[in-house]
């Protein structure tokens, strides 16, 4: 397969970092669960009631929250930026079809719910959210496995971005820089090879030991191809 060679640090594809904005405000220090419950309650109220007064109250909460957490305005704007086309299209159409008040309520509700959820993400470390998810999932049957997969996936993003970079360079070398298939097929095949190796490593650490072993297809003939 093409694309072999020395592993270069990915240039186009980089490993993501969280959206968290460090700080020491009350919002930063609140327990994760409390923030998520507050977000759920506020968002449900906004969506269910959808009135001018509720939108006004929500806007005040958003402004107060972002000020309290000392989020720079640039970051606050970045939370709402993906909605810019919706806002630009919705304000005139809603105002024309249903009046200015409806337009303000619809666009306001949308902006406030997204900004509030963004505020929780900005003030909560990804590691803390991961730990909270881990605890929450631990109570569900099979939840511990999902927790493990979450951590494996975070690591796999770094591995895959290198594979993707290599496959990208390979398709450039083959003069196929427009072909998505020449990029994705090698990446998927090699990532499955990587997953098989990872699965074997997990099995060697006894992951499958507690579960009774069904006569699974593939056991014993897990021969690496390629």
């Amino acid at each position: 397969m093409a694309g072999r060679g020395r592993v270069r640090p990915p240039a186009v594809w980089s490993i993501p970092v969280g959206i968290y904005h460090p700080g020491s405000s009350v919002l930063h220090r609140l327990p994760v669960g409390a923030k998520l419950v507050a977000l759920l309650v506020t968002t449900s109220m906004l969506v269910l009631l959808r009135s001018g007064a509720v939108v006004l109250a929500g806007a005040l909460i958003v402004v107060a929250g972002y000020a309290l957490a000392r989020i720079p305005p640039r970051l606050a704007l970045a939370q709402a930026w993906p909605l810019r086309w919706f806002v630009l299209i919705l304000i005139p159409t809603q105002a024309w079809l249903a009046g200015w008040q409806t337009a303000a309520v619809v666009v306001g509700t949308m902006l406030i719910t997204v900004l509030l959820a963004g505020l929780v993400t900005l003030t909560t470390r990804t590691a803390d959210l991961l730990a909270w998810t881990d605890r929450a999932l631990g109570r569900l049957p099979g939840g511990a496995m999902i927790s493990l997969i979450l951590v494996l996936a975070i690591r796999a993003i770094a591995v895959l971005s290198v594979l993707l970079q290599q496959a990208h360079e390979a398709r450039m070398a083959r003069g196929m820089q427009w072909s998505a298939r020449a990029l994705v097929t090698p990446v998927v095949i090699r990532s499955i090879g990587y997953a098989h190796g990872l699965g074997e490593a997990l099995m060697a650490r006894g992951l499958d030991d507690d579960a009774p072993d069904p006569p699974a297809a593939g056991r014993g003939r897990r021969v690496r191809r390629g």
Partner: protein, 197 residues
């Protein structure tokens, strides 16, 4: 529930959806217009892993987004995307990838490129839009028809291209690893069960 090998595959396909959302994978207009292959991720997962593992990988990917990793196309992430106008499409990925997997598995041990394409078309576009469009209409308070038209105009051409890509990639992957779907292996070596790549 899942064996070690399944866990590793689920993690890899969740990560695959993440890296396919990074700009650069498909850039006919250079880096300034961020067209990404992200929705290819759930399509591939369904057609390659089967409905159970594909559903898990879509859930894991969305959990990674929810805990604040900016993995959605355009560097979006966090809880905001789950209450925004496009939230329905995200949940549609879970249902869509499950439908693709179930449809592909329904005809096993027969595995043909055309049925794979039909499955990806139904699950990857039909089911995803079925959840995405009503949520878009609800959040923006637009009537259903307008939202449908807007959604179709913006996303449909790219998604149709992705169905074609996902089909060829899935067929190629099943040729390389014929034991990924239980039941497929018995037939895969027979002539005519897979088209020449």
């Amino acid at each position: 529930m899942f064996k070690a090998r399944d866990a590793a595959l689920i993690a890899m396909f969740a990560a695959l959806t993440a890296v396919l959302g990074l700009p650069g994978a498909l850039s006919p207009f250079g880096a300034s217009v961020p067209i990404t292959l992200q929705s290819l991720g759930p399509m591939l997962a369904g057609a390659i892993l089967g409905w159970k593992r594909a559903t898990a990988s879509a859930i894991v990917f969305l959990l990674l987004v929810a805990i604040g990793l900016p993995l959605l196309a355009g560097g979006r992430g966090g809880l905001g995307v789950f209450v925004g106008p496009s939230a329905g499409y995200l949940f549609g990925w879970i249902a869509g990838t499950a439908v693709i997997g179930a449809l592909v598995q329904a005809r096993l041990p027969r595995f043909t490129w055309w049925w794979t394409a039909v499955s990806i078309l139904i699950g990857g576009i039909g089911v995803v839009y079925l959840l995405g469009v009503p949520v878009l209409a609800m959040v923006t308070k637009t009537d259903g028809l307008m939202a449908t038209a807007a959604a179709a105009a913006v996303y449909l051409p790219g998604d149709l291209v992705k169905v074609v890509i996902a089909t060829t990639v899935a067929v190629g992957v099943h040729r390389a690893y014929p034991d990924l779907l239980p039941g497929l292996r018995a037939r895969v070596s027979q002539p005519g069960s897979l088209p020449p790549a």
